[in-house]
Symmetry: C2
Subunit: 337 residues, 2 copies
């Protein structure tokens, strides 16, 4: 009965979110973070209404001015009358779970605009959690009818890069005059770029940065499984001074050109995202199961710590017991060693 | 029979690794990357001989000079006659799987020293893969008798920070004169610091950086579950100019002091690591199972993509089938929708 009421309540909430209730949308996203059962029901109900938004990934070096570029893009798209949702994944504390740059100060000028919806997400990437959380928030924004959903993330951690890798168009932002190590990071994320941005292009060294990027593009491997669906020779390099809005129109045009040129690949991109979403959901359930098993079987942790048994043998045994207990009417996880 | 031969072969290899065969150790680490069945057997055999090394985590901003600090620490510990293993986790391509800074040029002066063993690891962090890989390499180095194992990682991605968070002592390296966004990242990793290093301390702004760090320390929450086991007031801030070896003796002393002051917490740290190792191994098996299920059930991915069903409902169904098929003599995963 309680279950039925929850399903009804979820359907009701889903309808309100679909009708564009921003306050409810924001609350749903918060609840997803806490993984309430109700939030998942709502997401289930919203699912048929997703898959319509254009998903734009923006990543790049720390300090490259990604937020400013995103902010300028929002302003540009708003002038065209498009509604824009943003998921900003902040470098953040592994412990507080909170987004340090929470308020995204530079984006506050959109705070009163109902056509813009910005959510920060702490980077809590244990075991694909980051990917799952991002996917869920994108789904909510998508269902709420935002035509463009921007995922902004720092381009350093693997999890952070992966999250952007499945966007429809991937924009990588860099900046003149970074040191050696940072250049190496740039090389790592360069491989996913569909459009490259040299921001702060009024700075000294911008020409050299463009030349370096061109060289790197020539070296890029385009046949990577999750890689760019775009030959390197067609990747455009756009110069911007995002704080002044310079070059943003050109950037938006380059993004559109990428979409048009790769329109035939859109179904592949959607299939990849669906697979990722399903995989994230499955692994999330597995992680919950594993954590429960470990909490109830601390003696195994003790034995591993005392080096009496190795983690692989314990894993095999726990997994076996888990699978066997599922149909035998016992608790769905082993209780004793 | 083949299985028995493999177990024998694994025992033999394990003995050679334990006897200090560096070439075999290097090969084992390579094989772990490919997850060969033999490599896992060897790791099982090595397990009882692990848990002895002191694990030092070094992380910090890109460009802060972490590699140089690690290089100088190696030289310092070598003079004391200690053998040092290093796992360097590089920012790297999500696709090449290779470590961009592969050869760690600055560390090459140790190339002929049998008491130093450096391995680079690409940051491939899908679903805790980074954590698992690092843990396994640390275990091999530990079993090989390296008394100090240093994990060096960029302090930006969540996965990358998590890997260092379970070290015995966590050193966070920063540098004067970084921009705003990077400062925020620093705040994120500051919470795990047991010792703080201001490298390139001969640069302008070093005093200000030290003051900023002191302020941040005052704000730090020490009661975080995986957080520092050390009150903020006891975190030492060490100035170094690592390229010239300046301040490295002081850093080593601060590390030792942290160990002495927190000796009573060592069992807790070891228990946390054992739990992580067991969790990583379990989740790795789950991920393999999930990937197999998804490859054999592409119709589910199609249906999710067409929005005919949501990923959560599919997950529940696939997991259920998986658990039920385990004891019914069927293939251990569902084949049809």
């Amino acid at each position: 009965m309680a279950d039925l009421r929850m399903t009804e309540r979820a359907a009701q909430l889903a309808e309100q979110v679909l009708a564009g209730d921003l306050r409810l949308g924001a609350r749903l996203i918060r609840d997803l973070d806490d993984q309430t059962a109700l939030a998942e029901r709502v997401l289930k109900a919203l699912w048929p209404h997703t898959g319509l938004a254009f998903i734009l990934g923006v990543t790049g070096n720390p300090g490259a001015g990604k937020s400013t570029v995103v902010d300028s893009l929002i302003a540009y798209y708003r002038k065209l009358g498009k509604r824009v949702g943003v998921v900003a994944i902040d470098p953040s504390s592994p412990f507080s779970g909170g987004a340090i740059l929470g308020d995204r100060i530079r984006m506050q000028r959109h705070a009163l605009d109902e056509g813009v919806f910005i959510r920060s997400l702490a980077s809590r990437g244990h075991l694909g959690g980051l990917s799952r959380s991002t996917g869920e928030i994108v789904a909510v924004l998508d269902a709420m009818g935002f035509e463009i959903v921007i995922i902004e993330t720092v381009g350093v951690g693997q999890g952070e890069v992966d999250v952007v890798a499945l966007a429809d168009t991937k924009v990588v932002v860099t900046v003149p005059g970074l040191g050696d190590e940072v250049q190496a990071i740039k090389a790592g994320i360069l491989e996913i770029a569909d459009v490259l941005v040299v921001n702060k292009a009024d700075r000294e060294g911008a020409d050299r940065t463009v030349r370096d990027l061109l060289t790197m593009l020539e070296l890029r491997h385009a046949e990577a499984p999750l890689g760019p669906d775009f030959p390197s020779s067609e990747v455009e390099i756009i110069r911007t001074v995002a704080v002044r809005g310079e070059g943003i129109g050109e950037l938006a045009t380059a993004i559109q050109r990428h979409q048009e040129k790769t329109a035939n690949l859109a179904p592949i991109r959607r299939a990849r995202r669906a697979r990722r979403e399903l995989r994230d959901a499955l692994l999330d359930r597995c992680a919950q199961l594993v954590d429960r098993v470990l909490s109830e079987n601390t003696q195994w942790v003790d034995q591993v710590q005392r080096r009496e048994i190795d983690p692989y043998s314990v894993s095999d045994r726990l997994l076996q017991e888990l699978l066997q207990s599922a149909t035998s009417g016992n608790a769905p996880y082993p209780r004793s060693a």
